[in-house]
Symmetry: C2
Subunit: 248 residues, 2 copies
Amino acid sequence: MVQEIFNHRSIRKYKPDQVNPEIIDKILEAASRAPTTGNMQVYSIVVTTDAQIKEQLSPCHFNQAMVKQAPVLLTFCADFNRFKQWCRIRNANHKAYNNFLSFVTAAIDALLAAQNACLEAESNGLGTCYLGTTTYTASRIIEILKLPRGVVPVTTLVIGYADENPSLTDRLPIRAIAHSETYNPYSDTEIEALYAEKENRDDSKKFVAENNKENLAQVFTDVRYTEKDNQHFSETLLEVLRNQGFMQ
Amino acid sequence: MVQEIFNHRSIRKYKPDQVNPEIIDKILEAASRAPTTGNMQVYSIVVTTDAQIKEQLSPCHFNQAMVKQAPVLLTFCADFNRFKQWCRIRNANHKAYNNFLSFVTAAIDALLAAQNACLEAESNGLGTCYLGTTTYTASRIIEILKLPRGVVPVTTLVIGYADENPSLTDRLPIRAIAHSETYNPYSDTEIEALYAEKENRDDSKKFVAENNKENLAQVFTDVRYTEKDNQHFSETLLEVLRNQGFMQ
């Protein structure tokens, strides 16, 4: 049993303590051990500790305080730039990777590496939090982190020493996410049963009341992850893929 | 230090031994502890052990022997179907998630969960291998696993008891994948230095000779991951996203 997996909490409040560079190196090494497609390792990790750069990145992550507070940000990027440069030097057809599949392949590499980094950080006594905002504001992150064509940020991991001690987050029952042999469609009654515990939690009821909604699902659709925002960010992300050379 | 991370090898030969269902449950639980966007858990895992279904899936994974040989396949899917069904029942705007960003969000959830499953399987003495072919043949996998609209398979994890004991795979030096503060562009000389060890390995030289190519980069571009295949699979994957309702 991998203890870190079962102990994981997202940490959103950090102490100002710096992280020893040797621990960062260990985290990067853990990331690099993740399996990747054809062992191409088509991802990069930008390690940001500089206060000014974190300040610039802060609005990309909707000004969540932890971005400036935590000592280290790891931005995981789908990266075919390095691989294509190698191909160019070797007179190999680097144009083979200017397409959508290659973006997806590289994003998979980056994300498996990110989860290794997350667990290794936690095993070294650090707290972590993923920032889903990375794909929303990828075009601005590309400018700030000077990412060349062929590189697209897909997630960011905040790392530092925890200044809070949250409980384990609730999860749907395993039978909600696991399917036996083939996909097992849900009846409406089953869906209601699977989401009942989540809907009946005190914090869920508080969200519903605070946002003046009828139920928790509406908090998601009308407040947290709305159609308008999702459509806007879909367009900007597709534009990023075109600009970074993945839609040719 | 998470031992499993540093011990990981992809296993491609499996013993016929079945995996205890309690171990499968533990692996699924590990997957479900992975962080997900807004704790929406917009992914599903299809657990396939049935010989007939594995037989059907085999060509989707280019008839690699391990697909039929290993006792368990876990197909990780980006899944907004379940979440949208809940929204529909609750009179919330389920159309908010019929877009590209939602596919990417769900794929991120699925992939972080997959890496937890991989490490937990290994910690239980099992071997694993990811199949990159899942995104290439997603439309056929959707038919076989009966995935409804809103669901797209993104990776497959083969699980079983190893019948081989490979060495650790080579990796690029950490400085090849890590960037300090912002992206550090590579000079051609640096790229040659970073790929030198990989190019000089005996197995690399064997690949080059067997495929009658000038160098290792050309084995990737001309044989393993070609422009023609990548463009074809890009088109079919984008078609899958449209058919599954993620490009509206």
